[in-house]
């Protein structure tokens, strides 16, 4: 009795699938989940959030919400002291991401309402800070009520919801990510275009040259392809720095020294250098697959060279060209190391901001939302690539 081959095959993939589930799919899923989940504030302010459920968001809520806030903060102080869980600090940090000032406001209010007081909670809380009279303060708490929220995803798109629930663009001077996204797309597009322009003649030569010259040219593409990205970035730093090789050469001609590094030029130049092999190899495959008899036939029928190129060669090579372009574009979008080392503050791409919000400002929700943005962009490109070229590694490099 033998297992069906289909079942046996499925079983053979199981160890790898399980491994990738644990080391890749689940971690990324859990991370991206943070873009839409909101769980820091609800455990600390459950009554307040319940009291705000029916609030219209136009003016500060009524006594019931203030009383709930006082009750919640007293309970949270109790818990923080008992377990040292730091719940108030975490909630304050999350609310601060929405409305700056909350990091101090919430712990301060919690401290001050702890002692019993006479009269309505509203007056007592307002006496602690005028902020509590602002509808937007309460709106931030409601937005963070969870368990799901659109706050981080909207923030990654430079949008926010006001207390009444309307989605608005953030004020001009606070917009960040629209620019970052546009910049990432623009740099990637520029790099892709440059790779296509530079890669075309080289790929054509490699595809049409026989013997040692062709091998040598192919080697010139494969060698950098194998060399570490950090090494290639380091090479450009050595060449472009203020006392670097290029400036020394320019100095010999009486020019400079020019600021060649920490700018957009350096980032694009190094990225083109690093990604060029990913363009050349699919182009070589496309040109080699082209039947040389077809352009010749077109020429013998009287088409001028430009027309042969536009009507015969180009359409036949288009899938390979598109594959190379998409491959370069996808990788360019996710670049982190090269802009970080060669670029200035205004040359950093999406990936840098993902890293920044994850580690330096510990705003996992925003890091996840930006990652989601990056993945959506990459996903669109991968779908296009799958359409055009199938999921094969091009160039058989």
């Amino acid at each position: 009795m033998r297992a069906s081959p289909r079942l046996a095959s499925a079983l053979l993939t199981a160890p790898l699938l399980l491994f990738l589930m644990l080391s890749f799919v689940a971690p990324i899923g859990a991370f991206l989940w943070r873009a839409v989940s909101d769980t820091e504030v609800a455990p600390v302010l459950p009554r307040t959030i319940a009291a705000l459920a029916a609030w219209d968001g136009t003016v500060a809520p009524d006594e019931a919400a203030f009383a709930a806030l006082v009750e919640d903060l007293r309970a949270a102080r109790e818990r923080d002291r008992a377990g040292g869980a730091g719940g108030i600090a975490r909630a304050a940090s999350r609310l601060n991401a929405d409305r700056p000032g909350f990091r101090g406001l919430l712990p301060m209010t919690a401290r001050r309402v702890e002692a019993p007081f006479e009269g309505p909670a509203r007056a007592a809380v307002l006496a602690i800070s005028e902020e509590w009279g602002d509808a937007e303060t309460w709106g931030a708490i409601r937005r963070a009520g969870g368990p799901l929220s659109s706050f981080h995803v909207l923030a990654a798109l430079d949008l926010r919801q006001d207390a009444a629930g309307r989605v608005r663009a953030v004020p001009e001077d606070q917009r960040v990510f629209g620019t970052v996204l546009a910049r990432s797309l623009w740099i990637s597009l520029l790099v892709t275009g440059a790779c296509l322009a530079l890669g075309w003649p080289l790929a054509w030569l490699i595809a049409t040259t026989r013997g040692w010259a062709g091998t040598l040219l192919l080697g010139a593409v494969l060698l950098p392809f194998w060399i570490s990205l950090v090494v290639r970035t380091a090479a450009w730093m050595v060449l472009l720095q203020r006392e670097g090789v290029v400036n020394a050469a320019l100095g010999g001609l009486g020019i400079g020294p020019l600021p060649l590094m920490m700018n957009r030029f350096a980032v694009v130049l190094a990225m083109v250098h690093i990604l060029l092999p990913f363009m050349v190899l699919p182009l070589v495959a496309a040109f080699r697959g082209l039947d040389p008899a077809l352009p010749r036939a077109a020429a013998s029928l009287g088409a001028p060279p430009w027309r042969v190129f536009r009507r015969v060669t180009l359409p036949l090579c288009l899938p390979g060209i598109a594959a190379g372009c998409i491959l370069v574009f996808i990788q360019a979008l996710g670049f982190y190391v090269t802009p970080a080392l060669l670029g200035g503050p205004s040359d950093q791409m999406l990936a840098w901001f993902v890293g920044f919000y994850a580690t330096r400002s510990v705003n996992w929700g925003l890091a996840a939302a930006l990652s989601l943005l990056l993945l959506v962009a990459v996903g669109v490109c991968v779908a296009l690539y799958g359409r055009l070229a199938g999921f094969r590694r091009p160039g058989a490099a």
Binding site: A8, H273, R392
Partner: protein
């Protein structure tokens, strides 16, 4: 005329690809301590510095250990999966292939940050095991793709012949199939090793000081003032890359089909 123009352009682009790498290699042999030409003289002092240093040599060692273990893990998991994928058809194949190839296209910064978050609670941040697992996941698509390609040249009838001679499926795979696809398996392992050796973003986020790999250490050096020891480290990585490229070329010539 057209052909001459294409030659000029192509050769210029090839020079653009090689020049930066060729330009920094001689600097690592400089007797001086500055990164420009002309060299004041030749010496091996920066290589002595590299091998005498408290952080460069451990970094090289970390790179080799993590790369080797990650390549081994990726190969052990990837070869059976590739063999199964070779026989699977239809939707199941598409789904499995999609999951397996995902690490190739997901931006590595997303992987790095996600692993930092996931590895924290299970104690894998700043451990060799964590780095090996992460790098194996990034290297496994290259193993699967390479082995799948070499299976294209393998005639499945041989497996049936082996079965008819009384060999079980495992024995048939190990004795008939594996020897023929061995160059592809080895090439896949080299690809996975090279992926680990090249990787720096995951290392930036989840490696501790004791797991610093060579590229990670170089990154730290580049953020600081670039020393010529960094150039020596770069030169050594270039040599390793050239060796790996030659090994893969040699394996490719031995592959069937």
């Amino acid at each position: 005329m057209g052909r001459g123009l294409i030659w000029a352009a192509g050769v210029l682009v090839a020079a653009f690809l090689l020049a930066p790498i060729l330009a920094i290699l001689p600097l690592s042999f400089s007797a001086g301590s500055f990164l420009f030409y002309p060299l004041p003289g030749l010496s091996l002092r920066w290589y002595r510095d590299f091998f005498g240093s408290d952080f460069w040599l451990p970094a090289l060692w970390n790179s080799l250990v993590i790369g080797g273990a990650a390549a081994g893990l990726a190969t052990v998991l990837g070869v059976p999966a590739a063999f199964a994928l070779w026989r699977l058809r239809g939707a199941l194949r598409a789904v499995v292939l999609g999951v397996v190839l995902a690490p190739m296209v997901v931006p590595v910064i997303v992987v790095a940050v996600a692993l930092l978050l996931a590895f924290g609670p299970v104690g894998l941040v700043a451990t060799h095991a964590g780095m090996i697992v992460a790098h194996a996941a990034l290297g496994v698509p290259f193993v699967v793709v390479t082995v799948l390609a070499s299976l294209e040249g393998f005639d499945a009838v041989q497996l049936r012949a082996a079965a008819a001679c009384g060999a079980g499926p495992v024995r048939a795979f190990l004795r008939v199939c594996l020897p023929q696809i061995a160059p592809g398996v080895a090439a896949g392992a080299v690809f996975a090793f090279a992926t680990s050796l090249d990787e720096v973003v995951v290392a930036l986020f989840i490696a501790g000081p004791a797991q610093r790999t060579l590229p990670r250490q170089m990154f730290a050096g580049l953020n600081d003032t670039i020393s010529l020891t960094t150039a020596a480290a770069a030169a050594m990585l270039v040599v390793v890359s050239v060796v790996l490229l030659l090994v893969v070329g040699w394996l490719r010539r031995r592959a069937p089909g």
